[in-house]
């Protein structure tokens, strides 16, 4: 095995697929962080990106179309010791699963979301994803796309994600850095990854990505100071039609994590999260009567 975290499953993505760059960056990031294989869970939805967990030698949960986030939510809340990374396509996370994406932003759960953004539904032969521009006709489409595109980073900012970044499969080293930082970030990290679909997207090709992608200026500081997010500035960069910037757009460590919020209303959560509860210990008659005292009838 070329990488420590590579599984022995044959990778069946198309030759030249952008996913190779993504999974390679994951192997490298996991290695750099020395993640425990048992304590790392890669969660995915459906589609080409959905296969990712099987190619990685950590635990993997390959779920339903659009539902990777709810699974990851249940896993992370129940066992906060686990490092949870979600892989999802643009159709998966922003189409069928968009509601969960919005809700995740409201919670700031400490998980990392990797968006495989190739602007098409590859595994079902190239239909338009929610990220595809209006009036564009990729080769698999019979007619030009008549629906507007959603900008993943803008949506993520609006929903309240606290680490918002973009990478591309063209630059696995930069992407690795982003993933490392994303996993280390306390809160939800969202990384939009621009990648080609070599089979069905003849517009957003390797060359297109190369010609259009540019790293954010080094002087740009994404860190949120004094509780105030300067989203306008980020929006401006995202509105630039000539350039697709990569790098970290926003990093907000001021916002409370979901763990802290649960802890506040459930003081025993930190010591005994759901996965750590001793279940074999039955409630006895006395404890039952104390717990539900107010329901007992006081016979006069």
């Amino acid at each position: 095995m070329a990488h420590d975290y590579e599984s022995d499953i044959w990778v069946d993505w198309c030759k030249g697929c952008g996913n190779f760059g993504i999974v390679t960056s994951m192997y490298k990031a996991f290695k750099e962080l020395e993640l425990s294989k048992e304590n790392t869970v890669v969660v995915s939805g459906i589609g080409c990106s959905g296969k990712t967990p099987h190619f990685i030698d950590t635990s993997g949960v390959h779920t339903l179309h659009g539902r990777a986030i709810p699974y990851a939510t249940g896993i992370k809340i129940s066992n906060p010791e686990l490092d949870v990374v979600v892989n999802g396509g643009d159709g998966d996370l922003l189409g069928i699963g968009a509601g969960h994406f919005v809700a995740l932003g409201r919670r700031n759960i400490n998980i990392t979301i990797l968006l495989h953004n190739n602007r098409v539904y590859g595994l079902t032969k190239g239909q338009a994803a929610p990220t595809l521009e209006k009036d564009v006709k990729t080769k698999a489409l019979f007619k030009p796309n008549i629906q507007d595109r959603v900008e993943p980073l803008k949506l993520a900012l609006t929903c309240g994600f606290t680490y918002v970044a973009r990478g591309s499969s063209l630059d696995p080293n930069q992407l690795k850095e982003l993933i490392v930082e994303g996993i280390q970030h306390q809160g939800t990290a969202f990384i939009d990854i621009f990648q080609p679909c070599v089979t069905y997207n003849d517009i957003h090709t390797w060359k297109y990505i190369q010609d259009n992608v540019e790293q954010l200026d080094e002087s740009y500081d994404p860190e949120v100071k004094d509780d105030k997010e300067n989203i306008d500035q980020v929006y401006e960069m995202l509105n630039d039609e000539d350039k697709i910037y990569t790098g970290v757009f926003l990093k907000n460590e001021k916002k409370s994590t979901f763990k802290e919020r649960i802890q506040k209303i459930l003081p025993g959560y930190e010591d005994t999260p759901p996965a750590k509860r001793e279940i074999d210990q039955m409630i006895d008659q006395k404890e039952f009567e104390e717990l539900f005292e107010e329901y007992f009838i006081n016979r006069l």
Partner: protein, 615 residues
């Protein structure tokens, strides 16, 4: 002469204090050792529409069903009297506010056109006063008009309250008048009020004063014509609970540590219960963005080793079924508490029904094993809520625990559970070197995320949990999963799958499931008749049910559906066709007198009786 039992209805506008009234009366009555069942009927509405509580109080049993006619009707408004007057027994009592006497039925916008025209057909006269005269003269019903306004003013003066403050005490007028008529003593009422207004001493004092004032006034003027005998029941420990409460208690006892939910009637109260009482046990209750997230986050939680569940009703379950399929495919123990209501679609959100049995059994694509168990009363609901987790973990499959609105929202004094009868069984748990999640079936050793490296996928998979479409592997894995249901059929004892009540060779057998249990048990009392209660539909107790039903010539299905699903289920599993059915699909409870009448017609030759009583 005092009474052994009493049926009463208290009605009024939704949001006008009806629940407080019913609660305090029930607290007081049950503290005297009386048996009580109270069914709450309400619209999908926050304020303004008609709602009512229908109760049965007994001095010698714990009532399991309701019936008509009632002996006492307490009206908070005119609509209550227009709606329920036909259900008052001849010689019964009606308490109402004197100020509604000139209210005309045509002026009440919340009364339906159907009710208005049905009322007018009787030519009674359109105003409450006409109706009161009619009830008095034609049916010997005693009207008890009370001057609500005057009474409230008296209270106002006594405690120097503003009129808006005093108006909140309307419920106490009904409590006082009902307790006067049934001869409830001051001590039990005072205790009930204190219980309700625990930390609000002043409010409690004022309520106690007001209730006593009205109760004495009623006693002075009318005596206590509905006086109840002393309770004949022993002093065993009892709880006053709704079905939602009973399930909540069961889940906490059963070791739940994660519950996800999306708000829906009539399931949401259970999640509230867990939030309120689960802190000591560190139970995480998460309100998710939809039911899809509710089931899938519960499944995710279960993968980490937590006992996880979600609670919903029909529309929510419809959204959950894809997740249930994933859980079956990946052998995940997860519990779904499914409170049925009137369907299809939005149907009747606050009314009951039993039309979702097949939705629970088959509502997801593909063939998969799951356990479906159905509670028939509050006590069963408690024990089933614990057992659901045990079965889910033992067989590593989802368990759908079915209840309905009738059970969820009715309040009874339930026997305190005997926890020596309850156990926790977690099944085969543990990891190993070179762990494979799906090895050595049918039931594999289950390790949790965080213990070993493992893979899960909704795709057909091999022992490692990696995708495989190899035909041989497919057969092996599908056999492995389906075999678990066979094991459950063999290993779960019959007395956990069904119950048989009544004589051995009866003239006929009622066949039912879920909340019809109570009314069926009351029906067979004193008759040459048995009741077969199906508790588990998957795995179905095929051989035993075949045995019982094939020996009896007349079987009658009783169910809250248009076309009884229990008939179809019995036919599918045993080949036996149940020829007769009593059905109700108005969304209201099945009442004892209706079943008795319907059975008579069936014994006279009818095959199908549709019953419809109740407003």
């Amino acid at each position: 002469m005092s009474r052994e039992d009493l049926l009463l209805i208290i009605g009024g506008e939704q949001g006008a204090g009806l629940e407080t009234t019913a609660q305090i009366l029930t607290y007081a009555l049950t503290s005297k050792g009386y048996g009580s069942i109270a069914d709450r009927e309400y619209h999908s509405n926050i304020k303004g529409k008609h709602s009512y509580v229908h109760s049965k109080i007994s001095t010698k049993t714990y009532p399991r069903s309701l019936t008509y006619p009632i002996q006492l009707l307490g009206c908070m408004d005119a609509e209550t009297l227009f709606t329920h007057h036909e259900d008052v027994e001849d010689g019964g009592f009606v308490v109402y506010d004197v100020s509604i006497e000139d209210t005309n039925i045509d002026d009440i916008p919340s009364i339906s056109h159907e009710l208005k025209s049905a009322y007018k057909e009787n030519d009674i006269g359109n105003e409450i006063i006409d109706l009161v005269h009619y009830l008095d003269e034609e049916k010997d019903i005693v009207p008890i008009p009370l001057d609500f306004q005057g009474l409230l003013e008296e209270l106002q003066e006594n405690f120097e309250l503003s009129s808006s403050q005093a108006s909140r005490y309307v419920s106490s007028i009904l409590i006082g008048s009902v307790s006067g008529l049934i001869g409830l003593d001051k001590e039990s009422l005072d205790k009930a009020v204190e219980r309700k207004f625990k930390e609000k001493e002043v409010i409690a004092e004022q309520n106690k004063f007001f209730i006593e004032m009205i109760s004495s006034k009623i006693k002075d003027e009318h005596g206590s014509p509905l006086k109840l005998k002393d309770s004949k029941m022993n002093k065993e420990k009892r709880l006053l609970v709704s079905g939602n409460d009973a399930v909540g208690m069961g889940k906490i006892t059963g070791g739940i540590s994660f519950q996800s939910y999306y708000p829906i009637t009539p399931a949401a109260d259970e999640s509230f219960f867990l939030e309120e009482h689960g802190e000591e046990k560190n139970i995480v209750v998460i309100q998710t963005e939809d039911e899809i997230a509710a089931i899938n986050s519960a499944i995710g939680s279960s993968l980490t080793g937590a006992r996880s569940a979600t609670a919903t009703s029909g529309p929510g379950y419809s959204l959950m079924v894809e997740g249930i399929g994933w859980a079956c495919m990946n052998e995940v123990p997860v519990v779904v508490t499914y409170y049925q209501r009137g369907g299809p679609s939005t149907g009747m959100p606050t009314r009951g029904g039993q039309s979702d049995l097949f939705s629970a059994l088959y509502g997801s694509h593909g063939q998969m094993p799951k356990i479906v168990l159905c509670s028939g009363d509050h006590e069963e609901a408690f024990y089933d809520a614990v057992e659901a987790f045990n079965l889910a973990e033992e067989y590593q499959i989802p368990v759908i625990h079915m209840l309905d609105k009738f059970l969820a929202n009715s309040v009874v004094n339930m026997k305190s559970p005997d926890l020596s009868q309850v156990e926790i069984r977690r099944g085969d748990i543990g990891g190993s070197k070179d762990y494979k999640r799906f090895a050595d079936g049918p039931i594999s050793k289950r390790a949790f995320l965080g213990q070993e490296v493992m893979w899960y996928t909704g795709s057909e998979h091999d022992e490692d949990g990696n995708v495989s479409e190899n035909p041989g592997n497919r057969v092996k894995m599908q056999d492995k999963r389906m075999k678990k249901l066979e094991l459950a059929y063999e290993n779960i004892p019959d007395d956990k799958k069904f119950k048989y009540f009544g004589p051995e060779n009866p003239e006929f057998i009622l066949v039912g499931w879920g909340s019809v249990k109570g009314v069926c048990l009351d029906t067979i009392e004193g008759m040459d008749c048995a009741y077969l209660h199906i508790w588990m539909f998957s795995p179905f107790p095929t051989e035993s049910v075949k045995d019982i039903l094939s020996k009896c010539e007349k079987c009658i299905a009783v169910e809250h559906t248009h076309s009884p699903l229990i008939k179809r289920s019995v036919a599918m599993n045993t080949g036996i066709i149940i020829d007769n059915e009593i059905v109700k699909y108005t969304g209201r409870p099945i009442y004892l007198m209706e079943v008795k009448r319907a059975i008579k017609d069936i014994l006279d030759g009818d095959n199908r009786k549709v019953i419809e009583h109740g407003p």
